[in-house]
Symmetry: C2
Subunit: 321 residues, 2 copies
């Protein structure tokens, strides 16, 4: 178990933005730097941009890279944390590549990599749920739906390090086509993309919705816009969001029946924006679906950590590595 004497850097690599944080030995995030993931410069790689954000975050606190005990990279894709090879991260354009080595070489410090949902789950477990959640599943609802699993206080990764692909469980026999090639995945029914599709279908049918006034392009409805529409009691939005919440509640109930989890935690952009509206619907459906014997004592709640979940998860991963 490596001691953190000075600082570690945790990088949350998203499809849109790269977020680098410097965290001290007391798990305090003392500096954050942000960059868009895609560069406008021709010869600049994603590795260059990762290095730049880390250096910017260090510089903001007058630190230098020799003060780093290690770096953790959170990656949206399938990977092997042991070989540090990213098998596929479509949003980053990475395939079968060791992402740790170039960073390690530059900073001359230990680099760990982990799936981003797993990092977020570690953060939620260690900083929000450790006392009450020995066995926990965290569901991240945003553009897609992902999950991370803690069993007996340890991150559960599965044989191919691919556990948590809950977005691709089939929930509708005749559902919409999913990015994975299959039909009727949870992601096509309960993500922000799904809610957006349902709202657009209703508008197309002639239903009136405030969404058309709140955003210029209804094809990409941000979570904040959904929150505004709900606040203004827009029926079309409320119906679509309730549908997604019921699907999530059904899956929650089934998870409780199968795994009798202590805690089911919701996180991600959609949950940050409209989780308080969705949670009662999720809970009601979960309670209806689960056996009384299993639902008993289950805690279902929304994470308060937001972006910090993955950053603090990186800290926890490094400390326990």
């Amino acid at each position: 178990m490596p001691e953190i004497k000075n600082y570690i850097a945790v990088v949350d690599l998203g499809g849109t933005k790269i977020l680098s944080a410097i965290i001290n030995q007391n798990s305090e995030i003392i500096s954050i730097a942000k960059k868009s993931t895609k560069s406008k410069k021709k010869n600049e790689t994603i590795f260059d941009r990762i290095i730049q954000t880390i250096e910017e975050a260090l510089a903001a606190k007058n630190l230098n890279s020799s003060q780093l005990d290690g770096i953790v990279l959170g990656i949206p894709g399938s990977l092997n944390p042991e070989t540090r090879i990213v098998n596929l991260a479509p949003n980053l354009g990475l395939k079968n590549v060791n992402v740790a080595e170039p960073i390690e070489k530059h900073f001359n410090t230990k680099v760990l990599i982990e799936n981003d949902a797993n990092l977020g789950t570690l953060g939620i477990y260690h900083f929000e749920g450790k006392e009450k959640c020995k066995n926990l599943i965290a569901l991240f609802v945003g553009t897609g739906v992902g999950a991370g699993i803690i069993i007996n206080g340890e991150l559960y990764r599965g044989k191919n390090f691919s556990a948590g692909e809950i977005g691709h469980i089939k929930v509708r026999e005749k559902g919409y086509k999913c990015g994975c090639g299959n039909y009727g995945c949870l992601e096509t029914e309960a993500s922000r993309t799904a809610i957006t599709r349902i709202i657009n279908e209703e508008i197309k049918k002639g239903k009136k919705s405030l969404i058309t006034k709140l955003t210029e392009d209804t094809k990409v409805i941000k979570s904040g816009i959904l929150a505004q529409a709900i606040k203004k009691k827009d029926k079309v939005t409320i119906k679509a969001v309730n549908y997604a919440a019921e699907e999530l509640g059904l899956v929650t109930g089934n998870l409780i029946n199968m795994f009798d989890f202590d805690c089911v935690v919701f996180a991600g952009g959609v949950m940050e924006a409209i989780g308080n509206f969705m949670l009662p619907v999720i809970k009601e459906k979960a309670k209806e679906t689960a056996l009384k014997s299993n639902y008993k004592n289950t805690k279902i709640f929304i994470s308060h950590l937001k972006d910090d979940a993955a950053l603090l998860g990186g800290y926890a991963l490094f400390k326990n590595s």
Copy 2:
């Protein structure tokens, strides 16, 4: 970890029969005694019958109870293995009762209790899957559908000791009413009871089936009868069994997506009788449902242990207790 110097007794308590085995220190089942669960004698309790079968199994090998290092009871119901209270075992008529104490008092030896699916899973893991299955789920398909889960080589029980209630995950929005009070549970779609119902519906619609010739009462179709009908290429039976297999395959695919298990093992009366017919359908549907990244390296197979699974699981539980 208690040493087994002499023998242990493992009792598999079913709704129909009580099976008691004597197992030696080399995990060999050296004696078995059987009794129907329900007594015809007025004042005879289930505890009396458990004691009798253990004593019969001992006597058959000229052993006496002082040679028992311990007893394990496998119970079809919800229970707490720590307090040894059975919360509810409907088929045994037990509710909120300590089943271990009367047996312990009689034999003056340590008594452990465990859910029967968990015992079967422990048997499968330790005697069929230990080398290849670090993380395993065993699905028991019979009158109902149950499961047991092994994570990192350990039985996973969940917070209320109720993990594995896979028979009650909701798989059909508008399904049949289940014994649990809910609708469209896996158990109403993929158990022997479900297959029986589907066959009867077809017969009622006027479809011709050999089932009516193979059994007098089509309301309770035993697994052996299903095997005979399949062998004789009875279309109605094959269609019903394929439907159940597809449901199991879908759930298998979803489990692989979520938990990236090393092994998914099928067991129970239906699988013993017609598992070889069902397995290709299950695998095909699972492969279609699961992400390639997760399905990779998953072993899906039928247990060969039959009744021995729970008995050997009792041995493993005792040895590791």
